[in-house]
């Protein structure tokens, strides 16, 4: 068996008295696409926030490729190859695609103490390439993200994660507020992750979306994992009844 890419051991998290995560252990292997389902308040978001470095667990360990890590900030998580795409999507609508792709990771021509001149030519060229890599066709890297549709934005976010060679892509409700057509596009992206050698964690309310795109279903309720089985061995009804 290969080393798991992510291993969570006995994660605990309290929010001012609320026990949001109770002893959650989860192992994910490279190349898996895991669908994480559960009702509001089941602990999905808490788990995602811990994995993306926004919050820190109160107890328990996280291992990435067998090594224990401490994810203290989103930057830490990205540094370890975990990139999160949020439901509100992590794009700035008033900025161009090229600038969005490199937020916080701008290639610099010249720098002093971490600040410097951006290599805008490289940003443009690489963003064109990155977007083409996810089969997205956009006119220009200078177009504003605010002019893109919701599905295209999620596509750009996925292109960004791939461009920075993330190992794990965490998609937190990426299909919320999207039309059916756009949703299908995003599901297509999620299915494409495996071919690119990426591991995916797809969080959604919508069983259909998860079942269409993931090869393993993990369900949470009241802060615990209550169900964990390959997609092929279960059905939407079974998971529904459980929740």
């Amino acid at each position: 068996m290969t080393t798991p890419i992510i291993e969570c051991r006995n994660l605990q998290k309290w929010y001012s008295g609320v026990h949001a995560l109770k002893n959650v252990s989860l192992t994910i292997h490279p190349g898996e696409t895991v669908g994480l389902v559960g009702d509001n308040g089941a602990g999905k978001s808490t788990l995602v926030k811990i994995l993306s470095g926004v919050h820190h667990q109160d107890a328990g360990e996280i291992l990435i490729e067998g090594k224990e890590v401490h994810l203290r900030s989103p930057k830490d998580a990205m540094h370890h190859g975990l990139e999160t795409i949020y439901q509100y999507n992590s794009m700035v609508p008033t900025m161009s695609i090229a600038r969005n792709l490199f937020i916080g990771r701008e290639p610099l021509k010249w720098a002093f103490g971490g600040f410097g001149l951006m290599d805008q030519k490289r940003m443009r060229e690489e963003s064109v390439q990155a977007i083409a890599d996810v089969d997205l066709h956009l006119r220009s890297p200078d177009a504003l993200v605010g002019e893109l549709s919701g599905g295209q934005r999620q596509g750009v976010a996925i292109a960004r994660a791939m461009h920075f060679r993330s190992k794990v892509l965490i998609l937190d409700e990426p299909t919320n507020h999207l039309s059916v057509k756009e949703t299908n596009k995003v599901i297509g992206f999620v299915r494409g992750l495996k071919a690119q050698g990426l591991t995916g964690i797809f969080i959604s309310h919508n069983m259909q979306h998860v079942f269409q795109s993931c090869d393993r279903i993990v369900a949470m309720a009241r802060g615990e994992i209550v169900f964990d089985r390959p997609t092929a061995e279960t059905s939407i009804d079974e998971v529904h009844d459980l929740l």
């Binding site: 949020y86 008033t94 900025m95 969005n100 937020i103 916080g104 610099l108 600040f115 001149l117 006119r139």
Partner: protein
């Protein structure tokens, strides 16, 4: 043609520029050619750098999604504290450094309180407006201290050469404006400022230290306001405690007229300069055209509303053009 139109519509500061040209022509005729006379331009160019520097600072802060109403008071406090220090025998360079440090501290306090207690910067800096103004009057002791006459005005406010139209303050303004524009559009920090103001959550999730970015913008804004106040005091030769009153709103108006979005994320240094130029031209043009000067604020108000409506309209049209070109 469509492409050209779209580029134009996407840049609200260009509309401001067009309006500026129109106003210059109107006022030039109305004032019988005095508006663009050397003497008049010389007068306007004394005030312009001071106003524009404040507007640039406010614009940068607005792009990162915050707001500063205290710039008018800092504009008065900084030169007043320098005047008090000079009278106590402090050498000018040291007094200047301490003055700038005071401004930076005020900006830091504005930013820290706003972010730490999650209150709107509108409220924090409204408080600072009163605090800094009060301090200015308190340290002045009620009447303005005299400035020593050996100050390096040649470096700040003297005419660049004998009979020149421009003062040294104009050089400072051009250099600072160029640096600010470069910071915003060429550096990674500029990218962070735009991201922070454009969508705070997204910027934070990409690992940008949004609070630090905002605090730095607050500090830059205060320092620019203070420095601009110093330029005015050196030009006038006397640190009046009342200078800069109402300047905070003029600076916001200049930023908005120049295309800066109140919600953050959008704006340019060039736009701030155009906005300031428009306000100065209206002020000066009305006087020269012998219109009752009390109409000035009316005109600024009208222009501000008009600019915001026009910008929103232009952005909408621009988006439509995009869609059509795509299909």
């Amino acid at each position: 043609m469509k492409r050209f139109l779209k580029i134009y519509l996407d840049k609200p500061e260009l509309a401001g520029l067009a309006l500026l040209v129109i106003l210059l022509v109107i006022f030039q005729i109305k004032s019988n050619g005095i508006l663009l006379s050397v003497e008049n331009i010389r007068g306007v160019m004394g005030l312009l750098p001071e106003m524009a520097l404040v507007a640039i600072g406010v614009t940068m802060l607005m792009i990162c999604g915050e707001f500063d109403l205290s710039v008018g008071s800092v504009f008065a406090l900084m030169p007043m504290s320098i005047a008090v220090m000079l009278n106590a025998g402090t050498p000018f360079p040291l007094a200047l450094l301490i003055g700038l440090a005071i401004c930076a501290l005020i900006g830091f306090i504005n930013g820290y309180i706003t972010l730490q207690f999650a209150i709107p910067s509108f409220i924090t800096t409204l408080g600072m407006l009163f605090i800094a103004r009060s301090l200015t009057i308190v340290i002045s002791g009620g009447f303005p201290p005299l400035l020593p006459d050996n100050l390096p005005t040649w470096l700040f406010t003297d005419y660049i050469w004998q009979g020149s139209i421009l003062r040294m303050s104009f050089v400072w303004f051009v250099v600072i404006a160029a640096l600010a524009a470069a910071l915003l559009s060429l550096t990674n920090f500029g990218n962070w400022i735009r991201a922070t103001g454009g969508f705070n959550e997204a910027a934070a999730s990409m690992g940008i230290p949004v609070k630090r970015v905002k605090i730095i913008c607050f500090m830059l804004c205060s320092m620019l306001a203070g420095f601009a106040g110093l330029l005015q005091v050196l030009r006038l030769g006397s640190p009046l405690p009342s200078i800069g009153e109402g300047l905070e709103l003029q600076a916001v108006a200049a930023a908005v007229i120049g295309g800066t979005a109140l919600a953050g994320g959008i704006g340019t240094v060039f736009g701030a300069i155009i906005g300031t130029l428009l306000i100065r031209t209206i002020d000066n043009g009305l006087v020269l055209s012998r219109v009752d000067a009390n109409w000035f604020k009316f005109a600024i108000g009208l222009l501000t509303m008009f600019a915001v409506i026009a910008n929103a309209w232009m952005a909408r049209i621009s988006r439509k053009i995009k869609v059509e070109a795509h299909k």
